[in-house]
């Protein structure tokens, strides 16, 4: 039912780094089954929508949840599950002995302690004297630019200040692994950027797993991203590779990109399943996989295009007006109008509007292109088989009014080849 | 309240009254012959409320039943509590026609308050006895044994009639008790003894009689040094301005006569009370 499960997560970590976190665990009640490795000094962002299992993953690592099967190992030590040395024994290391710090969405500063004593809590628990612990706490407060808040009570802090203290407190306990659970989700949009910059600085060379549903966090902080959906990892790899060249619908959604799948043809990609003109789209940029594998004609291909680069029209001449003098080779069997557009170098896809969603100063028009559900008047995509593919366009509200767009309307989605990137989909 | 009771009893169904009257005559023939104070001729009717000391619970319940049988058309409502509680209740306006106290002191309090309509009459006496758990595990024989070191004796607090009597006996005998507890009621003393918490307790003869198997009584000669006298008197409802009581002075007098008469004295003697 869920085809993305067929994608086997490769457990490769960032090259040239030793694995420190080795997790392969399942929690039946939550339909959770994940294998994840994190290298020492690496920051991994775990992306996914609510309910994808991100928090379950963190709780398993932090020791707040026991896996039904599998194991959790950190720096060669088994924290949960069976060990190689004694497979019969079931190991369980309680949270306080794991060397794993957790910073949640809410900073959860202890309300009865001052800011300084909050940060000193970790060192104090590790057996440091009150004086030493406070000295360490001051260093970390300095590190997060919050030394002046030392004597304040948590109740008197703003959300951004509290989260800074939360970061300092988590780091002051000197964890082998730091877990961040949506660290910016509870913050005003205005204060998040400063905190993000601060985190980027202090997390440098630390081993971190950061859970987020914001790609900006991932771009800013992570060496690698892991995309989760329905309790499983659906995609993972270097941050830019995954987020700029998504290979699953889920990743594309997170990265706010349109993802079209098809087969590589000369100069572009066919969405129709064959290599003919039907459903052919053209991409100017061709990206190869990170490993530099070959990307021959006929190979499975994916294409990413931003919704803001897609425009909508109801008559093809509207698109034709935008046609430039440059054009790619056209297929003579197409209708004249389509041929004109294609020869103008514009990708035109027939589709049906699904819904309209106002987003600030633009309206996102979501539709389906290709597939048997799409009625073809001109036959440009009439021969396309299989399910339609989702495509979204961000257009001005005036366009929605002028074209009288509403769900069910037959439209053309078009975009410049230059706005699309094509890459191997597997 | 009083008026409600009167109307209930005064329901004037002539036939019913006639039938009851016949029955009453028959009963009177057997029982009331001995009624000294209340000559068989003067018939009484109506309802009265009697406030009686807690130690009179069983005897007065029996006496009320017999009184009602002997005097058809009458009803006796009983209220039992500690004597001092009853005095408080009456002074606060509780409806009472007759007050039977476990000591003269509480009766005097009511008299001082001007709430008695006549003189109090002593109708019974009570003496202390030693109550021990069944089998007498501590082997107590007489009053002096109660002062033995290590023995757990419980007594009534001096504020209570039974406690005052205890103090009187101590004074008379020169034996000073070291009680482990001075309880607030006879019931509490008996409870401590019957449960075996205490080795012995000092209570009235009648209390031991009423307690049945749960405690054993050991009488002692010095008990005569403190004889507790029970007085009874009619309450004057007008005295406290509350108009309490039924106002049925005739019936109240009849009940008092009944208690001090032969039937009353027999019932009291059976329960262990002494003569007044």
């Amino acid at each position: 039912m869920t085809p993305h499960r067929a994608v086997t997560p490769d457990r490769a970590v960032t090259p040239d780094r030793a694995v420190t976190l080795d997790l392969a665990a399942a929690v039946t009640a939550r339909n959770f089954s994940v294998e994840l490795n994190v290298a020492a000094g690496e920051t991994v962002a775990v992306l996914g929508p609510n309910g994808a299992g991100k928090s379950t993953l963190l709780n398993l690592v932090a020791g707040l949840l026991r896996p039904d099967t599998g194991h959790v190992q950190l720096a060669g030590r088994t924290l949960a599950g069976r060990t190689l040395a004694d497979p019969a024994a079931h190991v369980w290391v309680p949270p306080h002995e794991r060397g794993v710090s957790l910073l949640a969405q809410q900073p959860l500063l202890f309300p009865h302690l001052s800011v300084l004593d909050n940060v000193a809590f970790g060192p104090r628990s590790a057996g440091k004297s009150s004086r030493d612990a406070r000295a360490i706490a001051r260093i970390w407060l300095e590190e997060v630019d919050a030394l002046e808040l030392a004597e304040r009570r948590p109740a008197s802090l703003s959300g951004g200040q509290a989260q800074r203290i939360g970061v300092a407190r988590a780091l002051a306990s000197d964890p082998q692994l730091l877990l961040l659970d949506e660290p910016f989700a509870a913050l005003d949009v205005a204060v998040a950027p400063a905190l993000r910059r601060m985190l980027r600085r202090v997390l440098e060379s630390r081993t971190v797993v950061v859970v987020t549903h914001d790609v900006l966090d991932a771009f800013t902080l992570a060496d690698r991203v892991v995309v989760m959906h329905d309790g499983a990892i659906v995609e993972q790899g270097p941050t830019r590779e995954v987020l700029l060249h998504p290979r699953t619908r889920f990743t594309a959604e997170l990265a706010a990109l349109n993802l079209l799948m098809g087969t590589r043809v000369d100069g572009g990609m066919s969405m129709g399943g064959g290599t003919g003109f039907e459903g052919r789209v053209i991409a100017a940029a061709v990206a190869h996989s990170a490993a530099g594998a070959a990307f021959p004609i006929g190979a499975a291909a994916a294409m990413a295009v931003r919704p803001s680069a897609v425009s909508v029209s109801v008559a093809e001449h509207a698109s034709a007006e935008r046609a430039s003098a440059e054009h790619a080779s056209a297929d003579p069997t197409s209708t004249e109008q389509a041929s004109a557009d294609r020869s103008a170098g514009l990708n035109v896809l027939r589709g049906i509007v699904h819904d309209l969603e106002p987003r600030g100063d633009v309206v996102r028009v979501r539709g389906v292109v290709g597939g048997s559900g799409v009625v073809s008047g001109l036959g440009a995509l009439g021969g396309a088989e299989g399910a339609g593919q989702a495509l979204a366009a961000d257009v001005l509200p005036s366009v929605v009014v002028d074209l009288d767009l509403s769900p069910g309307a037959a439209v053309f989605f078009s975009f410049e080849p230059g706005a699309a990137t094509m890459y191997p989909s597997a | 309240m009083g008026s409600a009771r009167r109307s209930r009893l005064g329901l004037g169904n002539p036939r019913g009254v006639a039938r009851v009257a016949v029955a009453a005559a028959l009963v009177a023939a057997g029982v009331s012959v001995a009624l000294s104070g209340c000559a068989g001729g003067s018939r009484v009717s109506g309802s009265i409320t009697v406030f009686a000391a807690a130690s009179l619970t069983s005897t007065f319940t029996e006496l009320a039943t017999e009184f009602e049988a002997a005097n058809p058309d009458t009803s006796v409502v009983l209220n039992f509590a500690g004597s001092s509680d009853l005095v408080t209740q009456i002074t606060e306006g509780a409806p009472a026609d007759v007050f039977a106290s476990a000591d003269t002191r509480n009766m005097a309090k009511l008299g001082d308050a001007g709430l008695l309509s006549g003189d109090a009459v002593n109708f019974a006496s009570n003496t202390l006895t030693i109550a021990v758990p069944p089998g007498n595990p501590a082997g107590i024989k007489d009053f002096a044994d109660l002062a033995a070191p290590g023995l757990k004796t419980v007594v009534c607090a001096p504020q209570l009639p039974c406690g005052a009597a205890t103090v009187a006996i101590e004074t008379a005998t020169g034996v000073t008790l070291k009680p482990v507890s001075e309880e607030s009621s006879v019931t509490d003393v008996l409870g401590k003894v019957s449960s075996g918490e205490a080795d012995a307790g000092l209570v009235y003869v009648t209390d031991v009689e009423a307690a049945g198997e749960s405690v054993t009584g050991i009488s002692f000669d010095e008990a005569g040094a403190a004889v507790n006298t029970y007085p009874i008197a009619a309450v004057d409802g007008a005295g406290n301005g509350a108009g309490n009581g039924s106002g049925n002075g005739e019936l109240a007098a009849a009940f008092i006569d009944f208690v001090t008469g032969p039937v009353g004295q027999r019932v009291l003697a059976d329960a262990g009370f002494g003569a007044p």
Partner: protein, 285 residues
């Protein structure tokens, strides 16, 4: 303010009068010229002193026994937990005399534990210890109830954070959990103290009544009624005043807790606010 139906105020006034009027009535009966002498008599001072001493010890016992009990009820799950909770709260609804009888059969000379203790040379009946036991028995549920509720309200999130910062379970308990529920602990302890102070039935049944040893203030009042109603009323007033002070202090603590909650309330609304912004960033296409 939102208007309430007028009749609510009227019925509420009747309810308030129902509580206040008897107290006022009692105060009108106080023999003021003698008041000082009545409450400073040897027996009164002995009773008040005993009551305060035993109530303090009982309250301490309630804290020592009640905190682990509340933790067990609030933080763990085990078979029979509901039954245990119901049983622990039983003294709240049990007539004190019944509690006294139960204690008698437990710690009494011939009781379940009493006979063993007697062999060891420990005698509880008729001792001040018996008073403390009776008071603890009836006061413990107040502390457990108040603390368990607070523990559930606070939740385990702070404890989880403390654990991931490396704090051992005992450290978490002492430095995080208990400080977080301290206001509830204090108000619970005060209610327990007030309940212990007012304990009468179980003490009367189980401990006896002897000046300076087992005769607490309520027992003294009960006894004084026999001969000296003025003294009983004067001592009742003293007990009422002590209770008012204790309940007032307890209320003060819980109100302070309420205002501290205000701080986290604010951050909660901040979170709501930003969660509203959230979909704009992670919204699916």
């Amino acid at each position: 303010m939102l208007g309430l139906p007028r009749w609510v105020g009227i019925v509420a006034s009747v309810g308030a009068l129902f509580i206040v009027l008897p107290l006022v009535a009692m105060i009108t009966r106080v023999n003021w010229p003698e008041f000082g002498a009545l409450v400073t008599s040897e027996s009164s001072v002995a009773a008040l002193g005993l009551s305060l001493r035993t109530s303090v010890v009982s309250t301490a016992l309630c804290v020592v026994l009640g905190v682990p009990l509340a933790l067990l009820l609030a933080r763990t799950q085990f078979a029979g937990q509901k039954v245990l909770r119901a049983l622990v709260l039983l003294p709240l609804v049990l007539p004190p005399v019944v509690g006294g009888i139960a204690l008698l059969y437990t710690f009494g000379r011939r009781g379940l534990l009493g006979s063993t203790l007697e062999v060891l040379g420990i005698q509880i009946a008729f001792s001040t210890t018996a008073v403390v036991i009776a008071q603890t028995f009836v006061a413990l549920p107040f502390l457990v109830l108040s603390l368990e509720g607070a523990l559930r309200t606070v939740g385990t999130r702070y404890e989880a954070v403390a654990a991931t910062l490396g704090a051992k379970p005992t450290t978490v308990l002492l430095r995080v959990t208990l400080p977080l529920v301290l206001p509830a602990l204090i108000s619970g302890a005060m209610l327990s103290f007030a309940r212990a102070l007012g304990e009468f039935g179980a003490t009367l049944t189980f401990a006896g009544s002897l000046q300076g040893v087992t005769r607490t203030l309520p027992l003294e009042i009960y006894l004084q009624r026999e001969t000296d109603p003025d003294a009983a009323v004067a001592l009742s007033l003293v007990l009422v005043l002590v209770a008012v002070v204790v309940v007032g202090l307890s209320r003060g603590v819980s109100e302070r807790r309420g205002s501290e909650r205000g701080g986290s309330e604010r951050s909660l609304s901040e979170r709501r606010l930003s969660e509203r912004d959230q979909p704009a960033r992670g919204m699916p296409l």
